[in-house]
């Protein structure tokens, strides 16, 4: 678990992020930094503000207050594509896969590789399949590019969704509950996939309810409660019991 840690420039830096939906204050004064090659767990009960925070970083919402800095520059996202353009990728909880398409088609959805024939551009099926196979190999997932996603296991689907984030040179990958709905063996695979991303210097933000997963892969854990950041601790300096207390509010802050 020894990583770049505090050394160097943070890839993502949030200062004083706040978000209001009408009279509801969803987030208030959140400061946070994520460094390259670091896995940060984001924990909190339902309604704690995790999803809102993720959606702000991913470009779904704009923050009401505060500043988002990415790679040292202040950024303003209007749509998810803007966030993707600078190198933020999200693996959504429902994975955002089209069941009726192949694994390769899903990996390249919205950024298909094409070959020009005069005025027409046709899909380059071979190049996409080859690149997808390469990505599945990097992720150590036994997934065939030409198989339909419909016929795949939960772990394979997860691999397809994660492979999509490896297509561009993503610097930050946020994963929303990647282990919520899959079997024990597949959880192992997904945690393995997170390690692979980390090895390649990608910062990962893991949003999860599952304490064992967070303690297995994360370097640092951030706890949210009632729209505020209540803790930001290295995984070595804390325990599942303390985190649980922070989530439920038995312990106010740490």
């Amino acid at each position: 678990m020894e990583t770049a840690g505090a050394a160097g420039q943070p890839v993502l830096e949030l200062t004083g992020i706040g978000k209001e939906f009408g009279a509801i204050r969803a987030l208030h004064g959140v400061d946070m930094q994520v460094f390259p090659g670091e896995v940060v767990g984001l924990m909190g009960d339902n309604g704690a503000g995790k999803s809102t925070l993720v959606k702000i970083i991913a470009g779904n919402f704009r923050p009401t207050h505060g500043e988002v800095r990415f790679d040292g520059n202040a950024v303003h996202f209007y749509r998810p594509i803007d966030a993707r353009a600078v190198g933020i990728e999200v693996v959504y909880q429902d994975l955002a896969l089209a069941d009726n398409l192949t694994a390769a088609a899903n990996v390249f959805l919205g950024r298909e590789l094409k070959r020009k024939f005069g005025p027409f551009a046709f899909l380059d099926h071979n190049a996409m399949a080859a690149r997808a196979l390469e990505l599945f190999g990097e992720l150590r997932s036994e997934t065939r590019p030409h198989d339909l996603v419909k016929q795949m296991s939960g772990g394979q689907r997860q691999a397809v969704a994660i492979a999509r984030t490896r297509l561009s040179n993503a610097k930050l990958v946020m994963m929303d509950e990647p282990t919520a709905a899959i079997s024990v063996r597949q959880v192992e695979q997904v945690l393995g996939l997170i390690h692979r991303l980390k090895e390649q210097g990608v910062a990962v933000m893991l949003i999860s309810h599952r304490m064992p997963d967070v303690f297995a892969v994360c370097d640092r854990v951030v706890v949210m409660r009632r729209g505020e950041k209540r803790a930001d601790k290295s995984i070595r300096d804390t325990s599942p019991e303390e985190i649980t207390a922070l989530i439920t509010g038995a312990k106010e802050a740490a």
């Binding site: 959504y92 955002a96 069941d99 551009a121 090895e199």
Partner: protein, 360 residues
């Protein structure tokens, strides 16, 4: 960013999908095609007239009359939408085309002097440029369809109305407009270019009916567009998981508007072709054809839930419907049975597919 692999990936736990378990072999289109071939063989033994050249030409012509519109609606169905306005659209485009054609061919009508003049005898109308009236009038019919398609797409994507309601309304609007512009009387293609019009719509090339040739060309183009362009891939993605399509940055609104425009254009073209064969565009033309078109698409394997469908299925569905109709006539069964049988086949085709996917 590629990472060297310690060992190439091996597929120890993941078997290869067998060829008969994927592609066309595992699709409803495949089963229905098989059923169709079976039916053709049965028909061959049931009636000596079935495989005669005349009857085959007849069948080819008849199914081509709904197949082009079926290709169009298949795009919409793949995205998980529906278009009920195709029948009305056929009529309206055909009507506009023939009205523009006869209007431009009548000296004295506004703008007609650009296209025609009277011959020396003072009676015969002569085109200034042969074929120009035909071109303009067909374009007029297609532009009408384009506008209707845009309105459908706009209401569904931007205003967020359901495709069923929008196109049900449009079915009525377009049919009503057809009655308004024609005063309920229908219209006839006329003027010096009418002969070209009939040759292009109900003529044939080396014995192959012209509509069938258009159908084959359009189906080939559609197959390429669906499977080898990013537009086609986005159409499938939209039907498979619209939310995913949106999150991955697919221009959902644009793709959806485009499929409704394609559908309306196909219906418009189909209507123009039918009017050439009928020799007129009556105001009640193609009434309830939308049901035949949707039935053909569904029988051929397009899934109304979205995500599945293709040109082969659309054609197979149309051929099956026409062969049944034709077969019942040749077998001297009352043609009233046709509708009943078509309904049974719709349910059977979908049922077989459901059973198959449950077993697999």
């Amino acid at each position: 960013m590629a990472m060297p692999l310690e060992s190439p990936i091996s597929f120890t736990n993941i078997g290869r999908i067998r060829w008969w378990q994927r592609g066309i072999f595992a699709s409803q289109t495949g089963y229905v095609l098989l059923a169709l071939l079976g039916l053709l063989i049965v028909m061959h033994f049931a009636s000596p007239y079935f495989f005669t050249q005349g009857n085959m030409q007849n069948v080819a012509k008849n199914f081509s009359f709904i197949a082009i519109a079926t290709l169009g609606i298949t795009f919409v169905i793949i995205t998980g939408g529906i278009d009920l306005s195709v029948g009305s659209m056929m009529c309206f485009s055909a009507m506009i085309t023939s009205m523009v054609m006869s209007g431009l061919s009548t000296p004295g009508m506004p703008g007609a002097f650009l296209f025609v003049h009277l011959a020396a005898d003072g009676k015969t109308v002569v085109a200034n440029v042969p074929g120009l009236i035909l071109l303009v009038s067909i374009l007029a019919g297609l532009v009408t369809a384009l506008i209707v398609g845009l309105v459908n797409g706009f209401c569904i994507t931007v205003l967020g109305l359901s495709p069923f309601v929008t196109t049900l309304g449009m079915l009525s609007i377009v049919r009503g407009l057809g009655y308004v512009v024609s005063n309920g009387r229908g219209s006839f293609p006329g003027g010096p270019d009418a002969d070209y019009f009939y040759a292009l719509t109900s003529g044939d090339l080396f014995g192959v009916p012209a509509p069938f040739i258009y159908l084959v060309i359009l189906a080939a183009v559609m197959a390429i567009v669906l499977h080898h362009t990013s537009f086609g891939r986005h159409v499938f993605a939209l039907g498979g998981n619209e939310k995913a399509a949106e999150l991955t940055g697919i221009p959902v609104v644009r793709v959806k508007i485009e499929v409704y425009v394609i559908c309306a254009l196909a219906a418009g073209l189909q209507g123009i072709i039918i009017s050439g064969w009928l020799g007129s565009a009556p105001a009640n033309m193609a009434t309830s054809y939308e049901l035949n078109v949707i039935a053909a698409a569904v029988i051929g394997g397009a899934n109304l839930a979205g995500g599945v469908g293709g040109p082969l299925g659309a054609i197979v569905g149309c051929v099956l419907l026409e062969v049944i109709r034709n077969g019942l006539v040749l077998a001297q069964v009352s043609s009233y049975w046709q509708q009943t049988l078509v309904g049974v086949i719709i349910i059977l085709a979908v049922l077989v597919d459901r059973i198959r996917s449950r077993i697999a």
